[in-house]
Each structure stands twice: as C-alpha cells, then as structure tokens.
Symmetry: C2
Subunit: 405 residues, 2 copies
C-alpha cells in the first residue's frame, strides 16, 4: 500500500483474475477501488483455494484494499446505482474497470452519456467478444506443447495470461487517466486476453522463428533455450536449477565446482565455442553430465555453501509449503509482507504491492473486504443517499451489506 | 502503436525481458524510449530465437518502437553521455528504466543531483540486490512442482515472472510520472523480481492455503483446480481443453455433447452436488470418463462443430507453427498485427500494443532499431551536440552507430 493514487476512484465490475488484479494494483497504490458484485457474490466468490469455512483465499487475495458493494445487478434499480457510482463527479472518478459483458446502462456509450469524460477499461476474451479464458488461450499459445519433455501438452499452473492482462489493464488505466487529466477526454480502452497472449508469443520471437526460420522451438524439458541451464538432483533428494547465461556466470560455475578444466575439454570434444551461449546450448548435455555428477555428490546445503559468494546463478526448487515455511523472503522479514487479519478467514501473511516508491512510503497491506462491507458507506459517501433511502434499498433487495444482510 | 504518451522520454539501460518489455510498452504508447547499450550490444543481444544470420528475433521482439544508442559504458565519457541523456531537460524527460547494476553516475542520487525531479525505475533480482532471474525465482515459487503430473519439477517456458515484472514497471513508471506532474517530485521506484513472484503466489491464495489450511495445492496434471477442466484427445490425434467453470458452461457441456443425462448420474453416484464447482472438482474423473469417450470418437473438426454456438468453453492445443500458420487471430486479419520489415532480419508478423485506446487510434507497429541506429540523432537532438563533436566521439570509440561503425 501507498498513497500515490489517492485522488482516484475506480469502479470495478469483475470476476476471476485479470480485472481484479488490475483493480487491486490501483488500490494498492492508494486509489479508492469499489468492486461491485451481485448480492451473494460473483462467479469467482467461491474459487479455490478456500478456507475450511468455504471462504475463498483466492477472492481475498485478489481483492485486497478494495471496497465492496453488493448490488442486485439483475434489477434495473441495482444497475442504475452501479451506473451512478461510475458516473459520480470528481476529477479522479468516472472510471470503470470490467471483464464482464456490459450490463444495460453500463456500456461505454451509456456511461459517456452520464459523464462525458468517462473512462472504461474492458477486458474481452477474444477481440470479437467470444469467450476465452487463461486455459483456452494458453492451449492456443503453443507453450503447453513445449513445456516438459514434449508429446502431451502440459498446462502452466500460474495463470500467466490473466496476470499479464491484469497488469496491462493497470498500465492502460493510468495512460487513459493521464490523457484525460491533460485533455479532458475520456475513452474506452479494450484488451483481449487472446491478444495479450499473441503479442507476448510474438514479442519473445516465436512468431518470427516460424515465419523467418521455418522453425518452431522444441520441447527441451527444463533446459534453458539457447544457453546453459538445467535442473539437477542433489544427494539429499532435492533439485536445483543451475544457469550460466552470461560469461561471468559461466566462469563462476567452472570455478565454484572445480570443474573448469573438465568443462574446457568439452569445447574441442564437441567442436563448439563454449564462450558463446549458442556453443553452451549445443554442448548442454555434455556440460550437464559433469554438473549432474557434481550435484549428485552433494546435499542441498553443500551445494549452497559451494556456490555462496561465487557468482553462480542457481536456485533451489521448493514446493508451496517450503516457500511459506522455510524461505525468509516469504515472511515478515520482507517488507513486502505483513500478517493481516482477513475478515472471515483469519490471520496470515499478506503481500502489498511489489514496487517500492521512494516518494510514497510503503504502508501495511490491507485485507480484502467482506462482500458488501462498504455498500452503505459507498451509497452515502459517493451518491449522497440518506440512511432512510439506503434502508429502503435493503428492504427492496436492491442492495445488501456484509454476509448478504 | 498509438500517441498517448508522445510527450514522454524514457532512457532504458537494460537487458533480457522485464525492463525491455516495460520500456517497449511505453514506446508502443508513443513515448520516446532510448535504449542505451554498450557498443557491440548488451548481454541479451544474441538471445535465442535467432535468425540464420545470428540476428536475435528475441531482441527485436522486445525492443520494438525504441531508439537505440550505443555508448562505451565502460568509459567515463560514455557514462557521462548516458547520464546527460537521462538528465536532459523537458517536462516529460528525466526518466531512467533499468535492470542492470547502477553504473557510476547513473545511480539515483547522482541522477537527482543532475536533475532534481529525476525518476528511476530499477528492477532487482532479490530485494537485497542479490541475483535472481526468472528461472531461479520460478524454482522457488512452488509452481514447477505442481506443474504436470508431479514428482519432478517442470519449468514454465513462458518467462511469466519477467513479463509480470515488466508490466509492473510500466505501471510504476506511469504512477511515478503522474506524481511528478502533480507535485514536481521525482523518485526512485524499485521492484524485485522475487517480490513479484511472492506477491503473485500470495495473491492467488497459495500462501494462505499453507498458513490457514496447512495444505499445499497438489500437482493435478492439466486439471483445473477446484472446478472442472481437463485436456482430451480427439479421434484425429489432436487435443482439446474443455472447461466448465460457470453454471452456464456446465449446462452447455451436457447439452452440446448429449451427455447431460449421463453426467447427471454422477452426482448421486459420487455423492456430490454437481451444481457446485467443488462438486464437479470432486467428481472430475467420472466426468472426464464420459467427456473423454465423447472426444475420442470425434475429430477436432467434429468437436468444433458440436461446440459451435453452444456456450461450451473449450480450446484446441496447437504448437507455435499451427498458431502462426493456422490461427486467424495470429495474422493481419487481427488489427494487433502487421507485417513489418525488421532491419537485419526481414519481413514478418509484428504485434503492437495489446490494448486499443478509443482516444488514440492504433498506428502500425514499428520495428526494433538496429543497435546504435539512433546514436547520432539522439546526441544531436537531445544533447544538442554538433556533428564535429559527434564525429570526435566516434573516433574516440565513445559512441558507435549501426553495426558498430
């Protein structure tokens, strides 16, 4: 958390990962982000992982520092309140972030009619409006067929396309708001999840590889493409990733392992120049044969000691449990984290924004709201509704507070 | 490309993916981004994939729409030119984006001495300044050990942490520039690649899962965690991903396959409520047994026809070659792309920014520069150097133009 954007108000009508992450990124920089959900919660309200009481750790994780308003979006009066929240006055307001099909009155044209300088950020699946999610976009991307050893596709578990799309939305929101603050002009900004994938595959050179070289990158297990890097087993059954991308890292690997002389024999043996990345890639199985034997004779701790301070680029593989329980970076020793009481779930390690801004000191991370926690406050503060009117809306089932009341 | 940020100038001293992607995102929204490299190119200048002449498709992909200046950063005079380029006057200038260890005179304090409102975005590996790259951060994240079927770690091929970090940098840059335009205050913004990973793992609920539930998400192959989704083989040897996240998608799957009645038998058989995501996850093997037999009896085209217009959420797996050659989204039919002549490589499909801004029409994507292509222009335009002085700098080996001349 910081206060960099504390003059902005963003209304978010969203589900799942991308749009919620985009909104949370704004909230973690101080913006007031009002997530509007249907009464009872949206499509992602019970997404796994969940706590034993069914409360979603995933939902809590992606909605930190936001306010929550629960509105009957299936009723005209609920949609009208949502529209009024987006279109409410104020130089930093008038911004909607959404990945859901536009509800009546919440499309860009209607919002623009209600507020001439409205900004709408809209994430689509495909550009033509057809459905696509991280799983289907990933299947099309080419990556699952080169993940692992090849043959059957292997899906990523990290929803990387959603995360990239959410951060593109955050970037686009700030660019659009910058434009508005200079010109007074609002706009609709659209992004398709499929286009985020396509642009990324091409940015990394894989489209050119097919078109220019007639070549498609093969599956090579955990090897680093075009340089040296591979995973190795240690004597105590752990695994480490060892990499030599730069000339310095390559020299360090030879020195730290004491294998420099043997490694040097590989150049003439394989007929390659090991001072080039392409040469090390060509000779990777021979290099790995030596490094594998060296790692297999050492425990993880011995590997760590041998590499400490040498400039070798390496890392240990660990599961989520070891990450949380053993890695000091995943603890309150890291200013990124604090232990936060997440209402409805309990106390656990909660991250803030992974950027440190020198001009806006890091504040403690804030939890996610309860669903509907801020319904009444938002209706009063943003729309100026009196408490009698808010009571009527509750009675009519148009709005709900925490836990659906 | 668009012109949203055409009053900004950003100097980038970078290598690899994250910082170059952050800078390219600014360039694709119209900012003048001057990438400074050592004469001969930086650490990423030959990264794979490469064209047959050795030119890097990867480097070209991540530096589109930038200007390139080649300076002898190992010489005081070269570093002084770099510093002068960062500190040059102008309300939208004075911004450095970097992921490399600070060169003398290019740390934040020195830049601030040269320009009081300087903004520096600095990507670290770990917060303490120690080295970490996508491969090592990923090993620590927990994801490789739950990717695929479990047991041995499986690395992602998409450098997802780098991509997220690059987009966080873009977001941070715009937030810092917004702050400066309102207050006159510059700042240093730092991000650690490891913190991007840690925040993301926690945002998705996996840290809370360990701390609150004492549970770590297991490896489940290509299955969707906590709902129904799996990959299936078709009669013609292709594979498809079939998903039922929402109630509507679940109904559509039953209707489109004609399996609704059989699927309904699974609820009582397994003792679960198939109207819940958790119930469908619990019964996923039984559901998959029916869907697998259905898919195995149909070619990909027949699956496509059966699902068309039904609301079933599905996608085909395809490799990079099929993506480029067969997928209409990866072609000039998609406004994201144009065929661009990339100097030194050739003509191929090149993406622009995966966001469409209503207030700033999409312009054709621009290629990456040749290394040093804009050295002379930048020295003249930004620093006002006369051609005789630029000639002297060439003769002294302090600067170089395209192809090292």
């Amino acid at each position: 958390m910081n206060r960099l954007l504390d003059d902005l108000r963003i209304v978010e009508i969203s589900a799942f990962i991308a749009a919620p992450l985009g909104g949370m990124t704004m909230a973690q920089m101080g913006a007031e982000v009002i997530r509007i959900d249907p009464i009872g919660g949206g499509l992602d309200f019970a997404r796994w992982p969940v706590a034993k009481n069914g409360a979603s750790l995933y939902w809590a994780g992606l909605n930190k520092a936001k306010r929550s308003a629960a509105l009957a979006l299936d009723k005209p009066e609920g949609r009208e309140l949502a529209r009024a929240l987006v279109a409410a006055p104020g130089p930093g307001a008038g911004i909607l972030l959404t990945n859901l099909p536009p509800l009546r009155g919440l499309d860009f044209a209607s919002l623009k009619a209600a507020r001439a300088d409205a900004i709408v950020l809209r994430l689509l699946g495909n550009r033509d409006g057809s459905a696509a999610v991280d799983y289907t976009v990933n299947a099309a991307s080419g990556f699952p067929l080169v993940t692992g050893s090849g043959g059957a596709p292997v899906n990523h578990v990290l929803p990387a396309w959603d995360i990239a799309a959410g951060l593109y939305l955050a970037t686009g929101l700030l660019a659009a708001e910058r434009h508005r603050s200079r010109t007074g002009e609002g706009q609709e900004v659209t992004a398709a999840l499929a286009d985020v994938m396509l642009a990324t595959v091409a940015n990394l050179g894989y489209v050119g590889d097919v078109q220019v070289n007639g070549h498609a990158r093969p599956a090579i297990g955990n090897d680093l493409y075009g340089s040296f890097g591979r995973d190795f087993a240690t004597a105590d059954g752990r695994r480490v990733m060892v990499i030599a991308l730069t000339p310095r890292q390559w020299r360090a690997l030879g020195e730290a392992t004491g294998l420099a002389e043997r490694l040097a024999m590989i150049g003439p043996m394989m007929g390659v120049d090991l001072d080039t990345e392409a040469g090390r890639y060509e000779a990777r199985d021979a290099i790995a044969a030596l490094v594998a034997r060296w790692c297999a004779g050492r425990t993880l701790d011995e590997v760590r000691q041998a590499f400490a301070g040498t400039g070798v680029l390496w890392g240990q593989f660990q599961d989520f449990r070891r990450l949380v329980e053993d890695d000091p970076r995943c603890s309150e020793a890291n200013p990124l984290f604090a232990t936060v009481d997440q209402p409805g779930i309990g106390r656990y390690l909660t991250p803030g924004m992974p950027l440190d801004f020198g001009a806006s000191p890091r504040l403690p991370p804030r939890p996610a709201p309860l669903l509907g926690e801020h319904t009444d406050a938002v209706l009063a503060e943003v729309l100026g509704l009196a408490s009698a009117e808010i009571g009527r809306l509750h009675d009519a089932g148009v709005v709900a507070g925490p836990n659906g009341r």
